[in-house]
């Protein structure tokens, strides 16, 4: 249920960035979300659609790229997917490691159309 809050955070960052780069509208937003963030993509997209109305980002596609949670084994250093193995290394069977991927949640990049400057546009 916090996806609307997250959508609003995304919107604020996106609109600020768009203004800084003179975009007249944003068409695509690429967000990276790790498996261990618990972000629900459909709720996020829906929240964003609602929140972005009447903004530079209205109608923009919110593309969510998932990153699998990856554990690095404390003993042998190999990397393996958390989902399949938990924290038990499939190579050396050591229990314990560090989650080196899967907690990310960031806006990777945005795409949009540049503002067209009019001759009498002083801004």
């Amino acid at each position: 249920m916090h996806e609307l809050n997250l959508a609003m955070e995304i919107l604020e960052i996106v609109c600020k960035t768009a203004r800084q780069h003179n975009l007249k509208r944003v068409t695509d937003i690429w967000v990276v979300s790790g498996e261990m963030t618990g972000v629900a993509s459909e709720a996020l997209e829906f929240g964003f659609e609602i929140a972005s109305k009447n903004t530079l980002a209205a109608g923009a596609r919110l593309n969510l790229r998932r990153l699998a949670a990856i554990i690095r084994c404390d003993a042998c250093g190999c990397r393996y997917p958390w989902k399949a193995h938990g924290f038990k290394c499939p190579e050396c069977f050591h229990s314990g490691g560090e989650m080196v991927q899967g907690k990310e949640f960031y806006i990777d990049y945005i795409e949009g159309d540049e503002r067209e400057y009019q001759q009498n546009d002083s801004s």
Binding site: M1, H2, N5, L6, E9, I10, E12, I13, T17, A18, H21, L23, T27, V31, M36, T37, G38, V39, G86, F87, S95, G96, M99, F105, Y106, I107, D108, Y109, I110, E111, G112, D113, E114
Partner: protein, 221 residues
């Protein structure tokens, strides 16, 4: 069409605020716990058992998060422990900004420990850093043993799990084997304390852990 690269953390505003809270806690040498669990798991009841004991050694305040009512803060104040109620008015979690405003209502200079009881919810509070030293997740036998598997994010990020309502074990189909197996999958380092706050059982280990955390750098009386 132009592309602008950002690489910007979505939760940056909250994380920046949490960083400022952390500085405040550090300045006053205060340890902070973020207590997270489902509605009805027994978070407030555990506090009612914990506070009389921990207050013997340390100065404690509680920040209570709920969508509505100040019932939880009222329960804490009855124990003569200062409590601030945050009413989120609908939001399903506390964020660092809300906690920052609540800190204005407690006397930081005399405190050793702040316990933040988050809004009853196993999902959303996990994402929002409040600058705490440890997240403590409260699960209960009545909820079933599948919670670590279904809500891995909070069980992964917590340092401690209190498994409450152990007195109900004989009357439920809760499987301790399944519970511990799933915890091992999601966070093998998680400390688990099996307690019954109603029957006042098993709280010793939890209290010892909490006292250890506060004594580590705290200003013991």
């Amino acid at each position: 069409m132009i592309r602008v690269k950002l690489g910007k953390n979505v939760l940056e505003a909250n994380d920046d605020m949490a960083g400022k809270l952390k500085e405040q806690y550090k300045k006053h040498n205060i340890k902070v716990i973020n207590l997270i669990g489902s509605p009805g798991s027994g978070k407030t009841s555990i506090l009612e058992r914990t506070l009389p004991e921990i207050s013997k050694k340390f100065n404690v305040a509680v920040i209570e998060g709920d969508i509505l009512t100040s019932r939880d803060a009222d329960r804490i104040k009855r124990l003569n422990v200062p409590a601030v109620q945050i009413q989120t008015g609908g939001s399903c979690h506390l964020d660092a900004g809300m906690v920052g405003r609540a800190l204005g209502k407690v006397e930081l200079s005399r405190l050793d420990l702040i316990i933040i009881e988050n809004v009853g919810n196993l999902v959303c509070p996990a994402c929002f850093d409040l600058g705490e030293d440890a997240k403590v997740v409260v699960a209960s036998v009545a909820e079933g043993s599948d919670k670590p598997a279904k809500y891995p994010v909070i069980f992964n990020r917590a340092k401690v799990c209190i498994l409450n309502k152990m007195d109900l074990l004989p009357y439920s189909n809760f499987s301790l084997d399944e519970f511990y197996k799933d915890i091992k999958h999601v966070n093998p380092g998680l400390r688990v304390f099996e307690v019954s706050s109603l029957k006042e059982q098993g709280l010793g280990g939890w209290l010892e852990w909490l006292e250890g955390l506060v004594a580590d750098g705290g200003k013991e009386n």
